[in-house]
């Protein structure tokens, strides 16, 4: 492994943070402390952490309804995230977005969307902007296998390819779009194949192996930075929980779930670190304990935070503009 020990520890910790955060969210949903919907990322940690470790801090990502992992991997903080999920004023979006719209724009996370595939053209635009501004930034665009059947996926890939934009399309193929298996609703079985229609290079990696994800995305990022245009990377992965809280998971088998649990990205990576004598089991347990404490303190922060003030309901709909002066603003 060519990464430094600190880097490797950082990856492990991030994956643990995500896993424990998601387990805590599950618990808070059951206790009705978190309301609404939450789409949990547990099982897919290696994708977000691997991908985000292949880019720089000032690069961008666009995220999805399953966006907690992306947010954390791009430098998001647990307390602000948990507060957002609880609809609290101290959350990343002042409690207005909740789980599905988590965004930390200051860290280059351009936002999560509740509309499947609607983040793809936004990534294209951000990449266009980076290219025109000559900043050498790249954009990682996360989306699911299901999203790749949506029309806007194809329109976005085409435009990015024609304009040779610095964007990496990261398809998180967890085998299902809600209850519908990818092999029942997609004409090709490797989503990566869809790049061929746009004469775009594609790559497939093991989405349960953080280093494989990182290496693969890195190549795509290098292409993008050199001005060679977009790549479609498919990461084969699996979500451990149901699609959202009320999903009985009748569409998949216990055996399949068990098989993928055995490929747990955190377990695999931990084993690699101990096998290579980089960390001991005690050290790993220690890191897990730190993650646990961090998640607990995020929970405490979120629960103790106040709800937004109802008088702020109408704030931020519009940016300040000269129209504010018309009719005392009543024009709006």
């Amino acid at each position: 492994m060519k990464e430094s020990k600190e880097e490797l520890i950082g990856y492990l910790r991030k994956m643990m943070d995500i896993r424990l955060f998601e387990e805590k969210v599950m618990e808070l949903l059951a206790r009705n402390i978190i309301k609404g919907a939450s789409h949990l990322y547990a099982g897919e940690e290696a994708v977000a952490v691997g991908a985000c470790s292949a880019i720089e801090e000032d690069d961008y990502i666009t995220s999805t309804h399953r966006g907690h992992g992306h947010c954390l991997a791009k430098g998001g903080k647990l307390p602000e995230m948990m507060a957002e999920l609880c609809g609290k004023a101290t959350g990343y979006c002042k409690g207005r977005g909740g789980s599905m719209h988590i965004a930390d724009v200051t860290k280059g996370n351009l936002g999560a969307t509740g509309i499947v595939a609607s983040n793809l053209p936004v990534a294209v635009g951000a990449a266009l902007s980076a290219k025109m501004r000559k900043t050498n930034q790249v954009v990682l665009c996360f989306f699911g296998d299901g999203a790749s059947n949506n029309g806007i996926f194809h329109e976005s890939l085409n435009m990015a390819a024609v304009w040779k934009l610095p964007v990496v399309f990261v398809c998180e193929n967890n085998l299902y779009g809600m209850s519908v298996a990818a092999n029942r609703c997609s004409a090709v079985q490797d989503m990566a194949d869809k790049a061929k229609a746009y004469d775009m290079p594609n790559m497939i990696c093991d989405g349960m192996d953080i280093l494989d994800v990182k290496e693969t995305i890195k190549k795509a990022v290098e292409r993008a930075r050199k001005g060679d245009g977009p790549t479609l990377v498919e990461c084969k992965t699996y979500r451990y929980f149901g699609h959202s809280r009320s999903d009985p998971r009748a569409y998949r088998t216990k055996e399949e779930e068990k098989e993928w649990r055995n490929k747990c990205p955190i377990k695999q990576f931990s084993k690699k670190l101990t096998d290579n004598k980089i960390l001991t089991e005690e050290e790993i347990a220690q890191i897990e304990k730190q993650a646990e404490e961090a998640v607990e303190s995020a929970e405490k922060f979120a629960i103790e935070s106040p709800y937004p003030d109802v008088r702020e309901l109408m704030d931020d709909i519009y940016a300040p503009s000269p129209a504010d002066l018309l009719n005392g603003g009543a024009i709006r």
Binding site: R96, S99, G114, V116, N149, P308, V310
Partner: protein, 324 residues
Amino acid sequence: MREILYKDALVEAMQEEMKRDDRVLVMGEDVAIYGGAYGATKGLYEQFGEERVRDTAISESAIVGAAIGAAITGMRPIAEIMYIDFITQAMDQLVNQAAKMRYMFGGKTTVPMVLRTEGGAGRCIAAHHSQSLEAWIMHVPGLYLVMPSTPYDAKGLLKASIRDDNPVVFIEHKMLYAMKGEVPETDYIIPLGVADIKKKGSDVTIVAYSRQLHVAMEAAAELEKDNISAEVIDPRTLKPLDLDAILTSVKKTSKLVIVSEGYKTCNVASEIAMLVMEHGFDLLDAPVKRVCAVDVPVPMSPVLEDAAIPNKQNVINAVKEVCQ
């Protein structure tokens, strides 16, 4: 009479129509194995098989377009769009194809399809899953618009919609699926374009539909204690709209309040208010009032979400203002 859930009333309606007419098919995301995100297609797949109950890809535009194509060539498709917020992706098919085909082609084709979808706030799922976009639909010539408020209405109206030869947008409310109500076991339909007086009264007319009907009913019950007798009318279909029923009521009460969960600007209520002005200005003793959602993307936080949509007190206040 037996009581069943709103969602089960919808299932029954589709079940009966699928049995009656083998041209009827159901398609949409997660409608087969999963039984619909809100359980409104549960059991159909088991009963009718995958030929007639189809899980689709997440391809809203293709779902609606395919329903149109099937409809104009002899089938009677029911397409489900999981949340009305996602019709944004299917708007071209709905607005430019479904709505206009019959007219553009000289009346020589019909588009007998139903687009079932759901809408409304109340579950803290934020701005992409909580909207009430019915005004968009009502705006477009060529589409019918149905919004049932009770299990009884849901079943009767869905059956009528499936039998109708027009493209019908049928909007359910996410907070009503688990509501129980009396539903006959017999085959009945509720004709499109006929309003229902949900409560008789003499002092003020409240027009309300979908979930807000229940908010209006609660307000009416409370107003009763203040000796204000409200008549509550549920149009049930917003297009065609039963304006006569509304005017008849206003003739009796001379006052009108309209309640809707859609954004206030260009709301369904704005249209109803204007129609009453045009056709019954002389009947009115006070300016019409509308109680609508605030013009704000629906926020996730429970306190903000509550503040964004109408509640009982808003309706009571509006009624008291017009009754002064």
